[in-house]
Subunit: 198 residues, 2 copies
C-alpha cells in the first residue's frame, strides 16, 4: 500500500498514525508539496482535487483522509476501530464530519495561515477553533474516547490537528479534558508522532 | 423515528430525501430556527452543537446529516445505498467528506449569505463553489452516480445544496453533467423536493 505523503500534513498523519495503530505497513512516497508536485499531471490523475494524502492499494485509489481511514479500518483494522453496528458507526461518522468541517476550517486553517502563509481570515479561524475546542472538551468530560466508548478512527481523524494546533496560535492549555484524552491516545500501542507534536 | 427539522435546510432535506428513497417514515418535528429554538435548552441537550437536523430513534440521538444518513442506510437502507465492501464504502465516504467540507463552505454558505443574511466572505464562497462544481462536473462526465456505480448516500449528501445553489447566486447552468445527474436522481422512486428545487 502506498501513501503519497507530506510529513507536515496532519491529514497525511491521520493515515500514518492509524496504519501504525493497526500495524499495517505503508510505503511512504514523499510529495514535494512546496514545489507543487501534487498539482502536476501524475498526481492530478490520481487525485483531481490536487490534494494529499493519496492512497493506493492495488487498483484502489483514494483521496480524503477520512475515506482512507474508513478503507483501512474496514479492510485491515476490524470491528474495534470502525464498528459495523448502525448507531456506533454513526457515532464515529459524526466525528469524521467534524474532521472534514470544523477541524479543517478551524485549527487546520489557522495553522496554514501561521505556518505556511496562507491568506485567509485568521480571526474567523480562531473563533471557530475556540467554539470547537469548547464542545470537544465538554464531550470529553464524560467520554474517554470520542465515539463508541473505545478508540476508533474518530480519534485518529480529530487528534492530528488538535495536537499541532499551537502551531496556528490555537492554545489547548485550558482544555484539561482534551489534554487528558490526548495523553490517553499517546499511550495506545503503535502510537507515532508527527513534526510539531513530539 | 423523529427528525427535528427545518424545511428550508438542505442538511435536514438530506435526511428527508433519503428516508423517502428507502420508504422509512419519519416523524417530522419542525424547529423554529428563526427564533433560535435550536439554541434553547431542550434541543441543546440533544445536540450541544446547536444545529439541526437532530435525529432520534429510540435511545439513539444523532446530529450531523452525514452521520444520520450512515445510520439510516446501515440499519434500514441496506447494502445498495451504503456498501459494506471497503473500497466501495470509502468511495462513498469521499463524498460524505465533500458534503461536510466543500459543500458546506461553498454553495451552502453562499446561500446562507444571500438568503438568510449571514455575514461571511461571499467572494470566497463563490470561488470555492466554482472549483467544486468543475470537479463534480468532470467526475460526472464519466460516472452516472457519485460513487460505487449506483445511487448511494453520497448522492443524497451532495444533491441538496447543489439543487438550491441558485439561491446563493451559484449557477449550475453550464455544468451539463451535473444537470444530467440531478435529473437522474429526480427520477428515482421516492424522490421528494424541497422549497427551492421544485
Amino acid at each position: 500500500m502506498k501513501l503519497y505523503d507530506l510529513s507536515l500534513s496532519g491529514n497525511c498523519y491521520k493515515v500514518r498514525l492509524f496504519a501504525s495503530f493497526i500495524q499495517t505497513p505503508l510505503t511512504i512516497i514523499p510529495v514535494d508539496f512546496m514545489s507543487g508536485e501534487h498539482k502536476e499531471s501524475k498526481l492530478i490523475q490520481l487525485n483531481p482535487w490536487g490534494e494529499i494524502p493519496i492512497f493506493e492499494d492495488g487498483d484502489v485509489v483514494l483521496r480524503d483522509a477520512q475515506a482512507i481511514l474508513v478503507y483501512l479500518a474496514n479492510k485491515y483494522g476490524g470491528e474495534a476501530w470502525w464498528p459495523s453496528e448502525a448507531h456506533l458507526q454513526a457515532d464515529v461518522m459524526q466525528w469524521l464530519s467534524v474532521a472534514a468541517n470544523e477541524i479543517q476550517h478551524g485549527p487546520n486553517t489557522a495553522r496554514l495561515i501561521k505556518k505556511f502563509g496562507l491568506e485567509s481570515d485568521v480571526a474567523l479561524c480562531l473563533e471557530r477553533s475556540n467554539t470547537l475546542l469548547t464542545l470537544l472538551d465538554n464531550h470529553l468530560s464524560s467520554h474517554k474516547w470520542l465515539a463508541a466508548n473505545r478508540p476508533t478512527i474518530a480519534d485518529c481523524a480529530i487528534y492530528p490537528y488538535i495536537s499541532v494546533a499551537h502551531e496556528g496560535d490555537v492554545s489547548i492549555d485550558k482544555y484539561t479534558n482534551i489534554k487528558a484524552w490526548m495523553n490517553r491516545l499517546k499511550l495506545l500501542p503503535g502510537y507515532m508522532s508527527m513534526p510539531g507534536n513530539e
